[in-house]
């Protein structure tokens, strides 16, 4: 129809915010709270949603996704909790070291790739470490609608148990915490056994934990539709490589510490994205020509796509080899 042709901008809509609180929770994790700079209310969001935080680090723009962990019913703030990753690419270090109350930042509108199945007769949450954040919002949402839930939360030590005390105090019968240093382990098999039909399981944490929950549930006859997971992959550093973008008609260099998507953006290419973590499928790009090996790290393409060498997800995946030409 084209009533008013506009080119869609990549990414979700943006919101200008001011940092309203920086709350260190323990040695590794800090909570950041934001208010809208225009004084208006934030859009409502569904528990499990994330926002992409835009960080102006000198002349470098960093975009990192974080789960929204504030109460979805509270439209006065958005909050995220960030775990410091000393080995990472610097986004979390920037948040921890540079961001102060009063700073102006930009968030995207919420995007949900990890939503509750509202048909569930019961919700069972499995969190590992900083994977607790989406469950904070889910618990708040379910408490308002009298939802049936329980949480099993594995942390390294009591000192690093982000929100563990707060949650245990608020919901002593629903929250179960397991500390690695006390050799406590989530009794997964027992927990999967005997859940009523229509129970849904959600897991957020390290890759190993996610795989463990999926595999154990499958072995106990659980349908895959009843097991939900979210894992944000941070793009991994890797050897620099060169890419030709044939639609844009330019050749660009991808540096060691930036993703292919970031390199395209740095060179002024408006490439699509949402999650920047290999989960949403938005950045899927066709490969025109390739001589070398792909390092696929996304959760979006299936094994067949990966093997075909015809597609790549530039937000997390890389390439090692002589020639790579993309349809972008």
């Amino acid at each position: 129809m084209s009533a008013a042709p506009q080119k869609a901008k990549a990414g979700a809509e943006k919101i200008a915010v001011t940092v309203s609180a920086v709350v260190p929770l323990n040695d590794l994790v800090t909570r950041f709270e934001f208010k809208r700079t225009d004084g208006a209310e934030f859009p409502p969001f569904s528990a499990g949603a994330h926002t992409v935080v835009e960080m102006q680090d000198g002349d470098r723009t960093r975009l990192n996704p974080y789960s929204l962990m504030s109460d979805p019913a509270d439209r006065s703030i958005y909050a995220i909790s960030v775990r410091r990753d000393d080995q990472g690419r610097g986004g979390s270090l920037f948040m921890h070291q540079k961001v102060k109350v009063g700073d102006a930042m930009t968030l995207t509108y919420p995007v949900n790739l990890f939503s509750l199945d509202l048909r569930a007769k019961k919700h069972v949450f499995f969190a590992g470490g900083i994977g607790i954040t989406p469950f904070k919002a889910m618990i708040a949402q379910l408490e308002q609608s009298n939802g049936n839930w329980e949480l099993h939360y594995a942390c390294r030590t009591p000192a690093l148990g982000t929100y563990a005390d707060e949650l245990t105090n608020a919901y002593p019968n629903k929250v179960h915490v397991y500390y690695d240093d006390q050799n406590q382990v989530i009794p997964l098999e027992d927990l999967l056994d005997g859940q009523p039909l229509g129970t849904h399981v959600y897991v957020c944490g390290p890759t190993g934990m996610i795989d463990w929950v999926h595999a154990t549930a499958a072995a106990h006859g659980w349908p895959s539709e009843n097991v939900h997971s979210e894992e944000f992959l941070a793009p991994q550093p890797g050897k620099p490589f060169e890419v030709r973008l044939c639609q844009s008609d330019i050749t660009i260099q991808v540096g060691e510490h930036e993703s292919l998507l970031e390199a395209m953006e740095r060179c002024g290419v408006d490439a699509p994205f949402l999650c920047r973590g290999g989960a949403c499928g938005q950045c899927e790009t066709d490969v025109v020509e390739a001589e070398g090996d792909f390092v696929h790290r996304d959760h979006w393409l299936d094994d067949e796509d990966h093997a075909s060498g015809k597609k790549i997800m530039p937000c997390v995946s890389r390439f090692v080899g002589k020639t790579l030409v993309l349809d972008r």
Binding site: A3, A4, P72, P110, E225, C280
Partner: protein, 355 residues
Amino acid sequence: MTIQFNNETFRDDYSFRNSDWAIKRFPFPFHEDSYMYSVNMEQHRGGPEGSVYEKRFDVDEHYLSEMQDRAIVLAEDPLRCQSLPHMTLAGWDTLELIMVSKSEDYPELFELHRDGNRWRWVNKPMKIDHTFTFLDETTLPCGPLEYITRQTQGDFAVLDQRDEMLWMDAGMVTTQADWSLDFDIGMNFFEWHAPVPLAHEMGIFKRALKFLLNVQQGAPARRLNWTMTVNPLLDTSPENYHKWGIQKTTLTPENIGAKQHLRVELQTFFRLPRSNALLFPIRCYLIAFQDIVTVPKWGRRLHRVVRDLPEELATYKGFIANRPVMLDYLSQYDDGLPTSPGVWPDLETEPPLAK
């Protein structure tokens, strides 16, 4: 501008009429002289002033009469509005989206006053002034989806999003192009589209689904669809087909200009924030052939589209039997001159009919 609401019917004596204003702003669906299914989606962020694309939920001169027609349909068949139990939150999302949009876009017609969860909604054309508690069903006379869509033109499908799929788990459907909510409720995107010819094979639904799964909060989208209806009958439902089907056989060369209507659906897509569901409003606009041909460009183009439409599509859209009599009529308004690209009437720049 203030809208003069018509007092008209979409049944029995069919007193429905489009004013000159409504004709000029009609969402003519053909941007070129031929038509085939495509993934024709674009952003829904306004459009030219006065056009049906300008506001999030267009209100026009047919508002009150359409709402009366909906009330008649629901009284006869309450199954036209259904919501599976897990869709109540999406119903509140829908209510919030429409109340906020309409009160911002048409402040002279609608008001929303919010004090925490205590909401007062004023719908001046329908003479409603109601205070209720947001998210508390007991404070509304019916479910939130039914409540707000009894006050909003167009049909509504509410899609739950799970497992990389959309599920039609709620809706209000009284102005549909021959499909049944009662039959389709609970189906997924591919299932409810099953009867559509050619588009599956063309890969259209696969790509369309991918697009829809990624429609985000604050970034709605839209597309147009169209079909043909004899008499300005809004409720062309399968439920009542045994009653209205016979009307399709009443066309004559004398009455076709007044009786045959082009039926256009402005379909929009909104991500709902609290439930993460997708709202799919389907707004139906009707126009008589005799009114379309007052715009020379549209008359020329409609003739060419109807003439060249693949047989499968004409059959699916239910006018294959009437196509010859339509073409006899429309060919009078096609002088063979070229048409300008795009959907707009271009009254100032397109030549008058040279016949």
